[in-house]
């Protein structure tokens, strides 16, 4: 071993490290598991075009109304973003303050009631409420107490 070279000086040969991926299989398994888990949303929906829900507005009650009066208590953008806050405000106003009437931003007065104001027009809970709620996986607890028209009728008949 007269030609011995120690590992330090660059006058010496370095230990040879093969250029390759070590522990190939384990690393591959790791990467595949990582990719599968983190792209779950992609391959679950692969190539699928999901149309956004279209809540049905044409209930008999709405169609009956004259064209001009076919507006909600507030404008569409407000209702889309904040209807749940509105309902909560109504609830607190009615139950805690005993105040049954609510005035909107235009100064119009409405009866603050889910069943009697909202559902008076939107009689179609499944097509109107549920469609969007299911779409974004929201489970509002309104329906724990409130009944739809059909349910009310059914309940009354059962008695």
């Amino acid at each position: 071993m007269a030609d011995y070279k120690n590992e330090f000086g660059w006058f010496a040969e370095k230990p040879k490290v093969e250029k390759k991926i070590y522990d190939r299989n384990k690393v591959a398994i790791g990467i595949v598991v990582f990719l599968v888990i983190f792209t779950i949303a992609f391959w679950k929906n692969l190539g699928k075009a999901v149309p956004p829900p279209k809540p049905a507005l044409e209930t008999a009650a709405i169609i009956k109304l004259p064209e001009k009066e076919r507006t909600c208590v507030e404008d569409v953008e407000f209702m889309r973003q904040r209807h749940m806050r509105l309902l909560v405000d109504w609830r607190e106003q009615v139950i805690r303050d005993g105040e049954r009437y609510w005035t909107n931003s235009k100064g119009e007065k409405y009866l603050a009631s889910l069943s009697n104001t909202c559902m008076e027009c939107h009689t179609n809970k499944t097509q109107f409420c549920d469609q969007c709620h299911n779409y974004v996986a929201v489970v509002p607890n309104c329906w724990g107490c409130h009944l739809t028209k059909e349910e009310q009728v059914a309940k009354a008949e059962a008695k």
Partner: protein, 545 residues
Amino acid sequence: MAKLPTPAELAKVSYSPPAKGWMEIKPDFRPGQYVNAADPKWMEWIDYPYPRKWSVPDEDWQLPSNWKEIILEGMEDRLNRFRSLKIFFDICVRCGACADKCHFFLGTGDPKNMPVLRAELLRSVYKRYFTRIGKALGDLVGARDLDESVIKEWFYYLHQCTICRRCSLFCPYGIDMAEMTLLGREMLASIGLNIDWALASVAQCYDKGSHIGATPQAFKDMIDFLAEENERITGISTPVSYNRKGAEILFVTPSGDYFADPGTFTLMGYLLLFKYLDLDYTFSTYAAEGGNFGWFVSHEMGKRLNTKIYEEAKRLKVKWILGGECGHMWRVCNQYMTTWWGESPTFLEEPVSPITGTKFENAKVHKMVHISEFTADLIKHGKLKLDPQRNAHIKLTFHDSCNTARGMGIFEEPRYIINNVLPEGHFFEMPPNTIREKTFCCGSSSGINANENMEARMQGGFPRANAVRYVHEKYGVNHLGCICALDRATLPTLLQYWVPEVDVTGITELVGNALVFEDEIERTTDLRDRDLVGFGEEEGAEEEE
């Protein structure tokens, strides 16, 4: 040598970091804190590059002109060879869990002794030269230019790390400062920066066979002397065979065990035990060193020293190897030895205890057995007649050596032996956060047990000594047991400084005390010539107590 401050002075540690950022603070080489630069003679003995006369406090370290290139190329080379280094450089989140785990930080309060920051000293260079984000954002991501003060910092702090891995235990990602310290020291060595204490031992061991540089005949002399001591004290002659071909077992132990007290008493214990068993074993004057200071310097040097053990086993045609009590020796044996050899040594057999017939399955490939495993097995099978009363003067606590604790996991074997050689109620554990896998290092391991850095050593050993003081005060513990020769070399100094009431002992020494031979003379003293309690002249012993 700098004057050593008193314990009360040294125990005033401040953990408040300085106002200036760590990148702006340059290392201050105060006497007492650093180990001297290696004598060029040692470097020449082992073909190390750039041997020259220099000293640590010098402004100019006379680095080779292309030192920067060497370091950076060396770092790249090590990144390619050690996945550990790449990962440890990339994934630290600086959560600080390791900070107050380091005995050097606890002892010095120097923030750069927090493992996270010690690693950052190296990592900052990696970031600057090997990552794009470091090149672009500089010190905001902890990257900095490599200059001589960085090298000086490495030298300072990589030699205030004892490779004990306590930080790695607590790191949520297992980042191991020891690995980085070792590779950092390799890089330092590549530009001719070594510490004298480690390199002298390495060169001597490489050249003659043991760290202390004993010639074969001197080695024999020392051990023969201890055998005579055995005969004087116990009346039992414990003849030793050397370089004997065809012996069943090659016994390898660190030089600390035959060189200086109290290691020598442990060696006397080995000799008594082997005599008791009529073990067919031999020492080797060539593989005369179990310890491996080479590994404190570089992986390659570790291998260069370690190779002798298997080579000698092959030459002597033994069946297997028995290893003495030693910490880093066993970490090296456990983690590196067979890997360095490249295969399981075919010339050896799977170790089987000739006394009990126990197959050491856990050493199937390595073919080397730890003396504590060997002894525990003997006791379990009732092969030793032991009189624990002979250790009645000893109240013991046990120090798990960092290397065997976190680099091997040998906890129960020595405790089992202790419980069998000590009278009941004489063994007391130190507080649970300072033993077993959470044990504190002696503070002087990894080649820094020199004299010139005594202050740093005492600071580094403070957490260990502090726990010893606790059991000393609470239970009257007067002996600290360990299965490490470096501990036996460094802990007496440490305890002399912090807890002078406590002595250091190897575990096999206690076995030697307790071992009852058929034809022994009546024992009145232990292997250290100290009177036993309850033996010989009763009154005399009483008075002694």
